[in-house]
């Protein structure tokens, strides 16, 4: 709760400070808010012991260990992203306060999604997360692609919300409650209308799949990712995805566990479809951002394996999701940070933009390489442990799906390596005259240290829940 309050107050302060003249203060203010909130969540965490504190607020919020660790993961990502805004948002000086404020407001929504105990709070969380993003996606007002992205995101998001709401209404109809524990109790008692419940769960599943961009509800993602400003794309593919999957897990593990027999098949099917479609499409992309969009879709498919581990006492699906979202977020932010610098000089956005980066900007190229290796899950990068934990969590019950996931990770090497090949092995070389902006250097070094720490001590994060 402390983190949520700090972020909220920070967002308001940044928003109003944006009206003033000292634009240089805005980024430090936002960063301080985010780091304070991160500190608050880590302070409350119970290290090494999964039974942490459990603040409950009128059965609406429950800030338990689960909420706290995901809050921490998100705030790490947000802090890194805010570190990039100094240079990334430099063209938006008149609306800088609005943009930073909106990012912080959006994160408040993510925090609500981690801690909801009631379906209404889940709905509010999703809306608080999404509405600022609709604006942020269109924050380059004079750019047609950005406007298109905003409109597409808004329309698709609204549809998804509508479907989600309909599902919640049906679940309410079946179980007579919005409260997670009461829903779970009603399902296990058998005192509910099974047909209505199942349709409700299915609709909620579809709504959430839209949010985490799982197939076949992913069609909005490539266009929106490509059109949005780079930083916002990074935000969408890390924070939004983490929030979506964490809410997904809590809802299905705490609310719908009794109906697992019904929804697990659908989740497995969505997961399989997402992995296969995203990876086979990503192979054919020539544009870096579109490739990253499909990559992000494919990661949604892997993340769903964590949902499938619900109910298996021997595996720690939540810990696996936590570790995976953390490594995935850091690697994705690194990749986008490097891309932002590259795209500044080579605007076409294709893989050829990276030609010769290895010689001209070794640090950027190294970061990008580690990010790509980590996303591909190649040992010994942190991404390997992410995939390892996630895949083993589902291995007991879905061996075929894990084999499919392994094959898909092998396919993914092909498109992640396109970037590496362009950076190091291409005979043609572009100019990269501009120096790396100062904020970027710090963000990248922090990210490098984090990835190294996660590689050396994966167990310390994995065992937090």
């Amino acid at each position: 709760m402390k983190s949520l309050l700090i972020l909220f107050i920070g967002a308001i302060v940044v928003l109003f400070a944006g009206l003033g003249k000292k634009k240089g203060l805005l980024q430090p203010l936002a960063l301080i808010a985010s780091l304070l909130a991160l500190g608050a969540s880590v302070f409350d965490l119970n290290m090494g012991d999964a039974t942490g504190l459990n603040e409950r607020y009128a059965d609406m919020f429950g800030f338990d260990q689960y909420a706290l660790v995901f809050t921490a993961v998100t705030l790490v990502a947000v802090s890194l992203l805010i570190g990039l805004t100094g240079w990334g948002f430099r063209t938006l000086s008149d609306t800088l306060g609005d943009n930073l404020g909106l990012i912080l407001f959006s994160v408040c929504g993510a925090l609500v999604m981690f801690s909801f105990q009631n379906l209404t709070m889940l709905f509010l969380g999703i809306e608080i997360l999404s509405i600022p993003l609709y604006v942020l996606a269109g924050s380059r007002r004079d750019d047609l692609a950005s406007n298109e992205a905003a409109l597409k995101y808004f329309l698709m998001g609204s549809f998804a919300t509508g479907i989600l709401l309909f599902g919640m209404a049906l679940v309410y109809g079946a179980t007579a409650s919005f409260d997670l524990t009461r829903i779970a109790a009603a399902i296990s008692d058998g005192q509910h209308s099974a047909g209505m419940l199942n349709v409700g769960i299915l609709l909620i599943l579809i709504g959430l799949s839209f949010k985490i961009s799982a197939a076949p509800f992913h069609f909005w993602a490539p266009d929106v990712y490509e059109g949005s400003p780079n930083l916002i794309t990074a935000f969408m593919s890390t924070v939004v995805k983490t929030a979506g999957i964490a809410a997904f897990y809590r809802l299905f593990a705490e609310g719908f566990i009794g109906a697992q027999g019904f929804w697990s098949t659908s989740v497995a099917a969505i997961s399989a479809m997402t992995m296969v479609l995203a990876n086979t499409t990503a192979i054919f992309q020539n544009n870096f951002k579109r490739m990253m969009a499909y990559s992000s879709i494919s990661h949604a498919g892997y993340l769903l394996l964590g949902i499938l581990s619900i109910g298996n006492a021997a595996s720690n699906g939540a810990g696996a999701l936590l570790f995976y979202t953390l490594t995935y977020s850091i690697a994705t932010i690194c990749a986008f940070a490097a891309y932002m610098v590259v795209a500044e000089q080579n605007r076409d956005g294709s893989f050829a933009a990276f030609n010769g980066l290895g010689k001209k900007q070794p640090l950027l190229a190294l970061m990008m390489t580690i990010a790509m290796l980590s996303l591909a899950g190649i040992p010994p990068t942190a991404g390997f442990f992410g995939k390892y934990f996630l895949f083993t969590s589902a291995l007991d019950e879905y061996p075929w799906l894990v084999v499919l996931a392994v094959i898909n990770s092998a396919i993914s090497i092909y498109y992640y390596f396109k970037v590496i090949i362009a950076m190091y092995f291409s005979r043609e070389e572009n100019d990269y005259a501009a120096p790396v902006p100062a904020g970027f250097r710090w963000v990248m070094l922090t990210a490098l240290v984090l990835i190294a720490l996660l590689t050396i001590l994966p167990g310390s994060v994995y065992a937090l829940i």
Partner: protein, 483 residues
Amino acid sequence: MSLLLILIPLLSSLAIFALRGANVRYVALAAAVANLAVTAAAWAGFDSSAAVNHAFSAPWVPQAGISFSLSMDGISLLLVALTNLLAPLIVLSSYNRSFGQDARYYGLVLMMIGALNGVFLADDGLLFYIFYELALIPIYFICAIWGGDDRIRVTLKFFIYTFIGSLFMLVSLLWVYMQTNVEGHHSFAWTDLVQVQLPEHTANWVMIGFFLAFAVKMPVFPFHTWQPDTYVSAPTGGTMLLSGIMLKMGIYGVIRWMVPLAPEAMHTLAPTFITLAVIGIVYASIIAIKQSDLKRLIAYSSIAHVGLIAAGVLAWNKTGVQGGLIQMLNHGINVVGLFYVVDLLERRLGTRSLSDMGGIAKSAPRFATLFMIITLGAVAVPLTNGFPGEFMLLNGVWKYNFWAGLAAGFTIIFGAVYMLRAYGLAMFGTANESTERFADVEIRDWIVLSAIATLVILLGFFPQIVLNLTDASVNRILGAVQI
């Protein structure tokens, strides 16, 4: 001690990346020599009667039964010795090339050495897998940055081939891991994994998973298609790493992990695997005879030799395994020597084609002598290092099956044919303009080649040095793994 062997190269590789000065190659050589010294110290303090030596263990992900544990027995020590013996030679041989000043190259070579040591020392299944994959990343970059034409396609094929192979191994490893039970938890420790009894049907799948990974790496027919192209397009240092050390990872994996973890499957699958290996021997030998590109010829000869080692090891009797071990060491030494010779010829003459050579023996007698000794080692003439290994391997395969032994015996005949043909075409015959002016070896070449030639003769006279080292360990592993 074991930890040092991994940390010295990995840390010095990081240091080299950070330094980027003109003198990084000396740092690289110093690190490689330091590692060799540590290896020598480890050998001196080695007690072959103990099951493990120089063990190091630290918990890594205790919740999932993963630990960072290293140890060595005679088999590991032999391969560690091979790796660290060749490392300085490989670094030294790279001084001649244009990347002589490039920090990235030396950093990658050292990273590779560290990972290879890790593969041979790992006592934990997942740690083994991680080092196995870590070794792939630097060699990929070495081949793709400094390789010849068509390197991007060739190396990507190599990477994807081996990576997919290892993924199958990971699945097999995980399957065995899921069957372990140490106080209610799963464990990746080698000793726990070996305890698992699998039903024969499952064991077959587990073994096939392992075999795919190792067969690609060695490579065994029909998984070898990546190999000749990669060897030819890679820079010489990369080819030496690949052929001298990296393919031994596959054979080591068979001895240490594949057979002990799924011995139940040996009855069903060993005949198939041995047949594939023997087909590979004959097939690669015949292709080698027809080659005119010297580097490609040695690449194919490598497939033939490794096929024999694989067949001998898979026969899983003492002669075969011991022969495989000694031959791993000797093949590593010989093949690095041969690739060094190829590099020298290519550097001087600008060609690898045998038809453009000839008459070099007259203008460079010392070079011709050293090349002859290494060639004889590769042909397995008695009293050179190749002989005891090939003899024991053939004996082992023979004991397993007469016909397989007979077919594998072709390796010696064919080996003599293609190696002596290549030697004759390159060194004798009529000289042309460029070979007439062929100067004899310089001091650096002389150091590397004579070190290798000395080893060829020394190990030919005293194979017992190696056999004694591994004897107890082989007995132990054969005794523990009944098939």
